[in-house]
């Protein structure tokens, strides 16, 4: 649910990074945080365990610039990927405007990708959303690893509907901003269609 404030002339939107445990959701946000100017980003919050696994969420506010006199602010969230944190994942999807699904390219994580994707659909549905109708981008992360599955296989399994997709290596930053830009564009395009 975007928030349009005519008083401060701001558009605020919420983007959620979803995906299985250790797929690189937090690494995406960390890279964005490291590579953006201090004047466009707020503080990054990570609610993580002592072993740096996301416990509740990571949060990064970003200002992307002005559009028709309105400042655009994007709030980026990650969900905890581990299966047993499902209750937390549901909460974070509340009011979402766009979703990035970070898939782990490693062959042995294929099952986890599919399970997480199913879980995303179910949790979105509970909030009244349909994955096919909201701005949605898939990122195939960890493409640099030797055990990465062929791209065609990932596409076939994780992206049967042909959503916008990117190959990435979040640790080096490859594909990270492309993914963010694509989902942000989708959210703004959706805003344009609002009410029609």
């Amino acid at each position: 649910m975007s928030f349009i404030n005519y008083s401060s002339r701001e558009i605020n939107c919420k983007i959620v990074y979803y995906g299985p445990g250790l797929c690189g959701k937090t690494t995406n946000l960390q890279h964005i945080y490291l590579k953006t100017n201090p004047d466009v980003k707020g503080k990054m919050i990570s609610l993580a365990t002592e072993t740096e696994r996301t416990l509740f969420f990571d949060f990064l506010p970003l200002a992307l610039g002005e559009i028709r006199g309105f400042k655009t602010r994007f709030h980026l969230y990650t969900v905890p990927g581990q299966v047993f944190y499902d209750a937390s994942r549901k909460l974070i999807l509340k009011g979402v405007d766009g979703v990035v699904f970070v898939a782990d390219s490693q062959i042995e994580r294929m099952e986890a990708n599919l399970e997480s994707l199913d879980n995303l659909k179910v949790n979105l549905k509970e909030q009244g959303y349909d994955l096919d109708k909201i701005p949605y981008v898939i990122q195939y992360n960890k493409r640099d690893l030797p055990n990465a599955a062929p791209l065609e296989e990932l596409q076939k399994l994780c992206n049967p509907t042909g959503a916008v997709e990117f190959e990435a290596c979040a640790t080096t930053g490859e594909g990270v901003f492309e993914t963010l830009k694509a989902v942000a564009k989708g959210v703004l395009a959706d805003l344009k269609k609002m009410g029609s």
Binding site: I4, K14, F59, H75, G95, K192
Partner: protein
């Protein structure tokens, strides 16, 4: 249920601000924040302006959402009031209507009793106001379409030009 867009015009914001400014005085509060359940900061008032209110809003929503989850587990619909007591400052959170959270930060100049009393009245006023804002925005969008219908693909692309 999926939530509709929140669109606040200047006059809506002024009315919200008026209520929370009054609440700052009536409750002897250090700061008041209105946050939506998705984590967006809607308005703030008081002497705490300048703190990281974006993070405050996001964490407040997370906290309220987690507590709401706990409520359901024990068979409650919601825990509408949360109170966090600190050494110097305290935090009082109340659900306002079905999508807003009213956060009051106060210290020894006030008391929990006073805050609860004042928040009740202000909360009712805010709930009604946000309901009016929601209805008005819905009518506006149905009648005139998106306020951003004029945005072109080029406008969006320009936002990302390095």
């Amino acid at each position: 249920m999926m939530e509709s867009q929140l669109v606040m015009q200047q006059e809506d914001f002024d009315r919200v601000f008026e209520i929370i400014q009054k609440l700052v005085r009536d409750a002897n509060a250090k700061g008041i924040f209105v946050v939506d359940k998705a984590g967006q900061l809607i308005a703030e008032a008081g002497e705490l302006q300048g703190i990281d209110s974006t993070s405050l809003a996001s964490l407040t929503a997370g906290c309220v959402a987690a507590t709401g989850g706990l409520a359901k587990i024990v068979g409650e619909e919601e825990f509408p009031i949360h109170f966090h007591q600190g050494e110097r400052d305290n935090l009082h959170m109340t659900l306002v209507g079905d999508r807003m959270i009213l956060v009051v930060v106060f210290d020894e100049r006030s008391s929990l009793g006073l805050v609860r009393l004042r928040v009740k009245k202000a909360g009712n006023g805010l709930a009604k106001l946000f309901e009016d804002i929601r209805k008005k925005a819905e009518t506006e969008i149905q009648t005139h379409g998106s306020p951003f219908a004029e945005i072109t693909d080029d406008d969006i692309d320009n936002l990302f030009s390095d």
